[in-house]
């Protein structure tokens, strides 16, 4: 019996130590949560300086993009303590602010002299504020991003291709500046044999489950004149979401999907776009700026072989916003450590190093540096894009709004159900129901 008692006591002590260990370790340790992608690796590298500077060890929890929202929002909703710091999507701001998941940073910014005017206006508006555009800050802009394009510069430069294109379209073959030109170029390349291999026009986003097709199609919808509301803040969507311009934009996206994407491209997002381009399957591809440093370094398709261009305009110049701000999770056990990281990260020198490592800093010290536009072949395009970005709803109900749009767009673009007008009319109906449920209509 004595042995059993001792064994039980030992097991209990081990259990207590085991469960207590993480909280003991928390005092000099921070966990930062983000998506698993190229910039996250750059942040790991950058954060080594913070550890050197503060003595705080950094742990990272990177979740693959398709599961990022599910995993992290579950964590926040369940009151989990996994993350001390979170680089979360801009659309999460409304919900996270209203549900008390993020710490409001105004007082901290004032105390530490961190000025939001030091960061690009569009980035502050998109990544830090809720209600949108008001001086209520829930995050520090961490990673600027927008949807843009890259193309096979070496294919475009081939004399026989140049001359054939000029003969057909009476203009030089160059990176497209409008959606009409984009479709022309994509059609021109689609089905062509280059270097003994059949190639296709363009890789675009068609993913159904998370946010893919919405992020891709808004790249056409925004330039054609799609708006979320007639009057900002009034939720009056009829005639804005389903305007003739918006319908034309959606039709343009579907036309591009139908004419010029590789076979089997029915559920494609970031990874598939990169694969299609890197394997030499497509002449052009859309993706986030975040991937451009890696693409430029790619041995097979990077360097002189790749060119970049900002999202083509049509009626207006517009790009779909990506990127995120860094927030302090209200549930953290290491509030001081988390705030210290934010303070360190906001410094101009750290921001400059962040850009040099492959992160998209949006601090004006970086963006207004005279050498910035020459620092990378896509830097100038990044500046243009960040000045014309538009974002999805950031409402607390953003997830329902996004799911409705994913369904309507995929049904129309990929599954050929109904017309563009019907898809957008249906979207107005879905969104109206959501805002009515939220008491906003």
């Amino acid at each position: 019996m004595q042995t059993i008692k001792q064994a039980l006591l030992g097991a209990t002590s081990a259990l207590v130590l085991f469960t207590a260990a993480p909280s003991l370790a928390k005092a000099d340790e921070l966990t930062l949560c983000w998506a698993a992608w190229d910039p996250a690796n750059a942040l790991v590298e950058l954060s080594k300086d913070f550890t050197t500077h503060s003595g705080t060890a950094m742990k990272f929890e990177f979740v693959p993009w398709p599961n990022f929202a599910d995993r992290i929002l579950n964590e926040l909703n369940s009151g989990g303590k996994l993350c001390d710091l979170l680089i979360g999507d801009s659309q999460w701001l409304g919900g996270s602010a209203e549900n008390g998941y993020y710490v409001k940073l105004n007082d901290f910014f004032d105390k530490e002299g961190i000025k939001m005017s030091d960061f690009a206006d569009a980035a502050v508006n998109a990544y830090a504020t809720w209600p949108k555009g008001t001086p209520n800050y829930w995050a520090l802009p961490a990673m600027g991003d927008a949807n843009a394009w890259f193309y096979r510069k070496d294919w475009f430069a081939k004399p026989e291709i140049q001359s054939e294109f000029k003969q057909k379209y009476a203009r030089d073959l160059a990176a497209p500046a409008t959606w009409d030109e984009l479709k022309q170029v994509a059609e021109f390349f689609n089905g062509r044999e280059i270097d003994g291999k059949k190639v296709y026009g363009a890789a675009i986003f068609t993913e159904r489950a998370s946010e893919g097709i919405t992020m891709g199609a808004t790249g056409a919808l925004y330039p054609y004149g799609f708006k979320y509301e007639n009057t900002p803040g009034k939720y009056d969507m009829e005639g804005a979401v389903n305007s003739p311009d918006a319908v034309a934009g959606l039709e343009a996206y579907k036309a591009l999907y139908k004419c010029c994407t590789p076979p089997g491209y029915t559920d494609a997002y970031m990874g598939e776009s990169l694969d299609a381009f890197k394997s030499g399957q497509v002449a052009m591809a859309m993706n986030w700026f975040a991937f451009f440093p890696g693409l430029y370094k790619d041995e097979k398709v990077g360097g002189d072989k790749i060119g970049f261009f900002v999202n083509p305009k049509e009626k207006v110049a517009a790009s779909t916003l990506g990127g995120q701000g860094i927030s302090v999770v209200a549930n953290t056990d290491n509030m001081q450590g988390a705030l210290a990281y934010i303070k360190w990260f906001a410094q101009p020198d750290v921001q400059k190093k962040w850009w040099s490592l492959g992160g998209y800093a949006v601090h004006k010290a970086v963006l207004t540096d005279p050498t910035f536009t020459e620092s990378q072949p896509f830097a100038a395009d990044f500046l243009v894009a960040m000045n014309q970005v538009q974002d999805f709803w950031q409402e607390p109900s953003y997830a329902i709004l996004l799911q409705a749009m994913q369904k309507r767009l995929h049904d129309y673009v990929v599954a050929d159900k109904g017309t563009a007008k019907e898809a957008l009319d249906g979207l107005v109906k879905d969104w109206t129901e959501v805002f009515k449920d939220d008491g906003k209509l």
């Binding site: 579950n74 909703n77 489950a209 029915t266 559920d267 997830a399 329902i400 129309y412 990929v414 599954a415």
Partner: protein, 329 residues
């Protein structure tokens, strides 16, 4: 190693004689009598209590909680918002939602065709294997392999097979029909994608149906067939009058198991098509998951879950009654 009854008896006899009568009287009485104050009944409860507690905690409580939530406006992503009762509104909205009816229709299509194909092919395979031809054991093992794989492996594996440019499936179809392999997409086409999932599910789970049917066929006593042969009954007659009726309870059991499983099918569809293209293959479980964990309308999702539960439970009960009638015949 098992001892025979005689061996055991002789060992007991020997020990009684060696240790004497006093020790023999102390031979294990019921365990409960050794622990004072605990009756056999209490001991029985003590043993099953952990299981009951676990069952209550992970099955019954969530079910009751889901029923409660289904009458509220609760959203799991808004823990601070007040929970208000909404009466039957969630049920009414679920039952009037065309997307949910579309998902139910997709589920019914999927369940019907998978069960039909799996039963036909599974029973045919069982019938063949039961013939005990040369190498039948090896073939049985080979046939069972798909069933032993993880659905995650099967889903990813078939995604590659269906890939229009490099997938083996398209090349085989192309070889047989002459249609160019990249001219059709099993997973991306509206008419083909439901069949792509049906093919994979049938490939994976037909062996399971076959196993159950084989058990049924092997349970038919040989003397019945011998009597039929004496009566000069043809093979066809033997099949319709002996084999099928006697194996029917087993077939029905297989249909019940597969029906319940496929009604809540999630993993395979998610891995193959994610419910797409559009909502073509969005079965009820995917709609439910989206409602609960992507849109976070917990109250409405709970109502939908309860409706699904009642539907499956009701249908399964009707079916079990039919099965019992068949068994009694």
């Amino acid at each position: 190693m098992l001892r025979s009854k005689t061996q055991v008896k002789s060992v007991t006899d020997t020990s009684s004689s060696i240790l004497g009568e006093g020790v023999a009287r102390a031979t294990p009485a019921p365990i409960a009598t050794r622990i004072r104050g605990i009756s056999d009944r209490a001991m029985a409860w003590l043993f099953i209590a952990p299981t009951i507690v676990l069952l209550l905690a992970v099955n019954i409580f969530p079910l009751i909680w889901a029923v409660y939530l289904s009458f509220t406006n609760f959203r799991a992503n808004r823990p601070n918002a007040p929970i208000e009762g909404v009466g039957l509104s969630n049920y009414s909205r679920v039952l009037n939602d065309p997307n949910i009816w579309q998902a139910m229709q997709t589920t019914a299509h999927f369940v019907f065709w998978t069960i039909l194909l799996q039963t036909l092919i599974g029973f045919s395979l069982a019938y063949l294997i039961d013939r005990k031809f040369r190498g039948h054991a090896l073939w049985t093992t080979i046939i069972l392999v798909p069933m032993m794989l993880s659905p995650a492996v099967v889903g990813n594996f078939w995604r590659f097979l269906y890939q229009p440019q490099i997938g083996l499936f398209n090349y085989i179809v192309s070889f047989v029909t002459g249609i160019p392999p990249s001219s059709f997409e099993m997973l991306g086409s509206v008419p083909l994608s439901p069949w792509a999932i049906i093919i994979v599910d049938t490939w994976m789970w037909t062996p399971y149906v076959m196993l159950i049917c084989l058990a049924g066929l092997r349970s038919i006593p040989d003397y019945i067939y011998e009597a039929a042969e004496v009566d000069r009954a043809s093979l066809w007659r033997q099949f319709w009058s002996i084999t099928l009726p006697m194996a029917l309870p087993f077939i029905m059991l297989a249909v019940l198991f597969r029906g319940i499983e496929n009604f809540k099918m999630f993993d395979m569809v998610t891995l193959l098509t994610g419910g797409g293209p559009g909502s073509t293959t969005e079965v009820a479980s995917i709609t439910l998951k989206r409602e609960a964990f992507e849109s976070w309308r917990t109250g409405r999702a709970s109502a939908f879950a309860i409706i699904l539960f009642v539907a499956v439970f009701g249908l399964a009960n009707i079916y079990v009654k039919a099965l019992n009638k068949v068994k009694q015949r």
